[in-house]
């Protein structure tokens, strides 16, 4: 368990992907959430100086523990591969474990008193789990900060650039920041989203998957 008082990228993406009131998941394209969590994991490792990336590859800088078992496990997986792979490959690999990362992040958000678990029945039969918000301070704070960034002309700090890049890649930004004032700043958001390499790779991976799914569909669908 991480000892940091700040949320990790994985925790932030999980939190921001839930509706404030109902605790239900916000709408996102197929696989987008998994890719975003994989990207968030890599951003966490990068910000902790455990990995570095360039357009061709991701390299391990240090295998020193992060004090976070999820991040340590991912770091060990990357370090075990003898030849560095591109960021996009790791996004694909870690997206397959997205449910594990999501569950761990929710456990932490519940333990910190930010979310609560709620079991509901649909049609008296089907069990559905929701995570309504108890303390909305974190979510409100990050949303306010990012909104100001999109609507203003200031440069982002590197952490906000990474988060905004991930949120844009998985199309969560367009849900979180909807309305005419944000529509008028679409170009600015696109520019901000390009400022982090991991976020760009998540977006590229998701685009490639979307194209593949579309081409696999029969004509007319």
């Amino acid at each position: 368990m991480t000892t940091s008082t700040h949320l990790t990228f994985v925790e932030e993406i999980v939190l921001l992907a839930l509706d404030d009131t109902t605790g239900a998941p916000l709408p996102m394209p197929v696989a987008a959430f998994g890719y975003a969590l994989a990207g968030a994991l890599l951003c966490d490792l990068s910000l902790l100086n455990r990995i570095d990336t360039d357009p061709e590859k991701l390299v391990v800088l240090s295998t020193e523990t992060t004090c976070d078992p999820i991040l340590d496990q991912a770091l060990a997986t990357i370090a075990a591969v003898p030849t560095p792979l591109p960021v996009s490959r790791w996004v694909g690999v870690f997206s397959e474990n997205a449910r594990v990362y999501q569950a761990a992040a929710i456990d932490r958000l519940v333990a910190r008193g930010i979310l609560r678990r709620e079991e509901k029945k649909i049609l008296w039969v089907f069990g559905v789990r929701r995570y309504p918000t108890i303390d909305n301070h974190e979510r409100t704070e990050v949303r306010t900060r990012l909104a100001a960034l999109i609507l203003g002309d200031d440069l982002p700090d590197p952490r906000d650039a990474m988060l905004l890049s991930l949120l844009t890649a998985c199309h969560l930004a367009e849900v979180m920041f909807a309305g005419p004032e944000f529509n008028a700043r679409a170009e600015r958001l696109a520019q901000l989203a390009k400022m982090d390499l991991v976020g760009r790779e998540v977006a590229a991976s998701l685009d490639a998957l979307t194209r593949a799914l579309r081409s696999a569909l029969p004509l007319g669908m």
């Binding site: 570095d52 700090d157 520019q191 390499l197």
Partner: protein
């Protein structure tokens, strides 16, 4: 990363030599931080062939701090691989990137 400091007119010019990776960006951060006080700072990338995400983040943070202080941060003499990295990321518009640092400063007199 080997960094040398020089003066041209009112500008402090840092000539970078090496890789702007984790070690390089740490060295650049240490060198630049005392100079991000709102003055005129230029980075000569002639001898930089490689930039990573860590390096870019140090540049982004430096530019943010410099602009907040009312200063300027000029990047120039980018090698082809570094320019390609900046172009892919759309960073050539975020940063003030020039072809020739010294000529630009001289022309601005």
């Amino acid at each position: 990363m080997n960094i040398t400091e020089s003066k041209q007119d009112n500008w402090t010019v840092f000539t970078l030599n090496g890789r702007l990776d984790q070690d390089g960006s740490a060295a650049l951060k240490t060198t630049l931080t005392p100079h991000l006080t709102g003055g005129l700072v230029a980075l000569d990338f002639t001898q930089v062939e490689y930039v990573t995400s860590q390096g870019f983040r140090v540049l982004l943070q430096a530019l943010k701090e410099q602009l907040a202080q009312g200063g300027r941060l000029l990047l120039g003499n980018l090698s082809e691989p570094v320019r390609a990295f900046f172009d892919i990321a759309g960073l050539s518009t975020t940063f003030k990137v020039v072809h020739d640092i010294h000529a630009t400063i001289a022309a601005a007199k």
